[in-house]
Symmetry: C2
Subunit: 143 residues, 2 copies
DNA sequence: TCGATTTAAATTGTATACAATCTAATTGTA
DNA sequence: TACAATTAGATTGTATACAATTTAAATCGA
């Protein structure tokens, strides 16, 4: 058995599926004017306003090198505002604009639309979902 | 229940885990002078020489826009050679150099080293791998 | 058989990722 | 309380991804 065979690699399916999912989100998000990472940021901001870049980054496992330009793009699109926190000028806080709040309604059908495109075996889905949760728990541990 | 809650998204864990896995490969691949996508390409070329860019792309779900510069980098690193196919000049074929073949030996421990960083049950891994591979197959079907 | 179509790569332009470094603000402490 | 550490973002540089377009080669069809 060849340990370097592509089909033996655990990691490759994660990489391939992740990109395939992003591909399937694209046509659903295009009418909203969002990319997939931008959509993820909006999900986090829709949950709670006033979060810092740092807090959003911890949620999505992204750092300022990725988030700073991405948030600036969303600000340029008038979906949110980046405001320095008065009590601690090192932080920026993210607030929704009216347009950003309005976009949430348009986004509401996206999750179900996406699942419909997946058309996967229910049994596989359960196995994967359970395994993913174990992996996420284990991997977010600082070991 | 909020359908836009990040924790409800099935797709986010794929995105997060995929990037986490890439992060864990980095220190293992750095001594080989490879990035993770470059490593994947080498896996495919180690399996069979003479494959076209197109064939490699189908295996990894990557197009020429990604692969052309990546293969040029691997050629510049003297790991492989890009050769126009004489019978059909539209194709390029990928062949290993001696250095490229030699690197294979160095890479042999990488898969096991990576699994060790995941710290998960080996049996669990086999089950997940099989389910994920079925997902990849299903999702890359043109449905 | 010759122009239209198809095909494989390459190119262009945009948008992530992320390590490494820098800057400015805050905090801890001798 | 100066001032060294720490912290949050921003910046820089490199490496993907991928849509859209271009180029060159091969094939198809009237």
């Amino acid at each position: 058995m060849n340990p370097l065979a592509l089909d033996e690699q655990l990691c490759f399916p994660f990489y391939a599926i992740s990109r395939e999912i992003t591909r399937r989100y694209r046509p659903l998000l295009e009418p909203l004017g969002l990319t997939y990472p931008q959509y993820l940021v909006m999900l986090v901001v829709w949950e709670e306003e006033g979060q810092s870049l740092k807090a959003i980054g911890e949620r999505l496992h992204l750092d300022s090198g990725t988030l700073t330009p991405l948030l600036k793009k969303l600000e340029a699109a008038d979906l949110l505002r980046r405001v320095r926190k008065p009590e601690d000028e090192r932080h920026i806080q993210i607030f929704l604009t009216d347009a950003g709040r309005a976009l949430r309604k348009q986004a509401e059908t996206v999750p179900l639309d996406l699942v419909r495109t997946l058309d996967v075996d229910e049994e596989d889905l359960q196995v994967v979902k359970a395994a993913l949760n174990r992996l996420v728990m284990k991997m977010s541990d600082p070991d």
